[in-house]
């Protein structure tokens, strides 16, 4: 009975990150990279995997050391932990995928200041045991990954006429969608769609699409 309850609560934690508190569409956190690198499914996937890795590892590490870190210096300590994992990710990417690194190297390094990672460390991992923290990081990371792949797919399909590299149409239907401008349109329209579904079927709050917009 008890293990059953545990299993469902882990499942709930993971699903929470993917749907009800999706970091990109619902909380409007960490938007900078979400639009920047997602000109294709592949780029969105790579970025999402990098965030997933950093997020899960940071949550596990913060949770392991939660009783050792003095609350007064917790924020610098978290930033140090995050920066370590981001450096590892950056070096791995530079070693194994040079072309992708040229395109998104700067954004990989900037994972270190993603509000979503530090806010999960502060709000969840510092107060919970290792396994729930890992599940929370995994869920949030998967939600982020899913959102990036979705935005990437929309932009690649409209802008380039392909999905994950497979051409569907001839030529490029609307090149503007793979240019920087298109990212803003894609996110704005998807957010509007999420809000519309929410208001129509769940009677959600109007003007949602996230909190204040920063942190």
């Amino acid at each position: 009975m008890k293990t059953n309850f545990m299993a469902t609560s882990y499942k709930k934690l993971i699903l929470n990150g993917i749907f009800s508190e999706n970091p990109v569409f619902r909380l409007a956190l960490s938007l900078c990279p979400a639009v920047a690198v997602t000109t294709s499914v592949k780029n969105g996937f790579l970025m999402g995997v990098a965030v997933l890795f950093v997020m899960t590892m940071v949550n596990i590490t913060v949770s392991l050391f939660r009783n050792l870190i003095n609350p007064k210096v917790r924020i610098p300590a978290y930033i140090l932990i995050i920066a370590t994992y981001v450096s590892i990710t950056e070096m791995m990417m530079r070693a194994y995928s040079r072309t992708a690194y040229k395109q998104m190297g700067l954004y990989i390094q900037l994972i270190v200041v993603f509000a979503i990672i530090i806010s999960r460390a502060e709000l969840f991992a510092s107060r919970n045991k290792v396994l729930p923290s890992a599940a929370d990081g995994l869920g949030m990371g998967l939600g982020f990954l899913g959102a990036l792949v979705l935005v990437g797919a929309v932009r690649e399909l409209i802008g380039n006429g392909s999905i994950a590299g497979f051409h569907i149409t001839h030529g490029s239907p609307l090149l503007i969608m793979v240019l920087p401008t298109g990212g803003f349109f894609a996110i704005g329209l998807l957010m509007g769609l999420f809000n519309w579904i929410d208001q129509k079927y769940y009677g959600g709050r109007p003007g949602g699409g996230g909190g204040g917009g920063h942190h």
Binding site: A36, A83, S87, E90, V113, G188, H215
Partner: protein, 194 residues
């Protein structure tokens, strides 16, 4: 030399505008562009912090990190420099000019963990810029960010009165508006050849 600096300034301010073509600092951009007054305060604070942190991190990168071959630690060190400097500026401002502190203090706190501030030292290190070039990149990026904030704040003040469809109220319409401004900024892309 001067021409080179001018090119960097124009490139970082309008052609590669941090907000519209590099997508940096979006959290702050959407957060504080609701009112013109806050947008002005924020853009001044940001520009100052960007120039100074560009200078500080250049010094540390050239004089400490390169000789010791610890470039791999640059993410940690750059964040440390920015956070340390912001904390220092916060304390100094509180002592020296309390009026200015009450106007700008709230923005200072938000600055430490912002991608736009960290991006300047990282870009400088990537491009191997010299001291003056690094300062110019900081200044140009700050000017570009201020321009973006001021444009957005003036549009959003008008947007308050507009009749926006319910699902698009708030953030979604702000994104669409930003997309339209970014479209206009595409026109700058042929201004100078880099």
């Amino acid at each position: 030399m001067l021409k080179d600096l001018f090119t960097i300034f124009i490139a970082s301010a309008v052609i590669n505008n941090f907000v519209f073509t590099r997508y940096l600092g979006l959290c702050i951009f959407f957060g504080v562009s609701k009112k013109m007054e806050t947008a002005l305060g924020m853009s001044m604070t940001f520009t100052a912090v960007m120039v100074i942190s560009a200078a500080l991190s250049w010094l540390v990168y050239r004089l400490v990190m390169l000789p010791l071959h610890i470039e791999f630690l640059r993410i940690v060190l750059f964040i440390g420099i920015v956070a340390g400097f912001v904390q220092f500026a916060d304390t100094m401002l509180k002592k020296l000019n309390p009026t200015l502190y009450y106007k700008l203090g709230i923005y200072l706190v938000l600055i430490t963990t912002n991608c736009i501030i960290l991006a300047v030292p990282l870009l400088n290190a990537d491009n191997n810029y010299n001291f003056l070039q690094s300062l110019t990149l900081g200044l140009g990026s700050g000017a570009g960010f201020s321009l973006a904030l001021i444009i957005m704040a003036s549009i959003r003040e008008r947007l308050e009165l507009a009749n926006v469809p319910k699902p698009f109220q708030g953030m979604p319409i702000a994104f669409i508006v930003t997309g339209l401004i970014a479209l206009a900024f595409l026109g700058f892309s042929g201004l100078i050849t880099i």
